[in-house]
Symmetry: C2
Subunit: 117 residues, 2 copies
């Protein structure tokens, strides 16, 4: 049985790993401006088609893009909200970090006050 937490962890790992490549980030950049075909996406990259398709598959497996075939044309689109878990995790990290800094600053302020009295 896979727990809810383990699944969330797998999603985060797949997303972060998918984002760890400049070609895949460029594809997401392009798709943020609207859906397009695999051929048009591939044309922007100086890369053998099978390698480029492997990048698209990684993005799709991570749930960051969706693809759909109509006739002989495959179109890609950004999966809305797919980046949310990744942003949430980073925001949460930043909150813990900032809370720690606040406590530290509070501690320093207390020391100063004690010093002045």
């Amino acid at each position: 049985m896979v727990s809810h937490m383990a699944k969330y962890d797998d999603t985060l790992s797949a997303c972060f790993t998918a984002l760890g490549d400049p070609t895949r980030r460029a594809v997401l950049d392009r798709l943020a401006r609207g859906p397009t075909t695999v051929s048009e996406l591939a044309a922007a990259h100086d890369m053998a088609l099978p390698s480029f398709l492997a990048h698209l598959r990684k993005l799709e497996a991570a749930g960051l893009i969706t693809t759909a075939k109509t006739g002989r044309t495959r179109r890609c689109a950004l999966a809305p909200g797919a980046i949310a878990p990744v942003r949430d995790w980073l925001d949460q990290q930043a909150r813990v970090w900032e809370a720690r800094l606040d406590r530290f600053e509070g501690h320093i302020a207390n020391l100063k006050e004690e010093d002045e009295t």
Copy 2:
């Protein structure tokens, strides 16, 4: 010559790849609460020490943590601000995406207005 853009791209790739592993994310989670020793970090993970140290090296190479040795003890700390480029990239993606949705909604509103007049 490596351009500024290429360096930024390398930083993003190293950070995202480093974040794509649950052990490495757990280490960052722990360090967000304050610095600690390698031994204490390792104790929380059921893993051979060399494998665990490889994870720490990846986090350090990505600039996400710093380590410093005092005598026989190596301490690790979160590198402040290291996560900023990653958050900035994601925020920028979200902005482009939301701007596109706004334009789309504006377009729909215009169509409705034309329909009503």
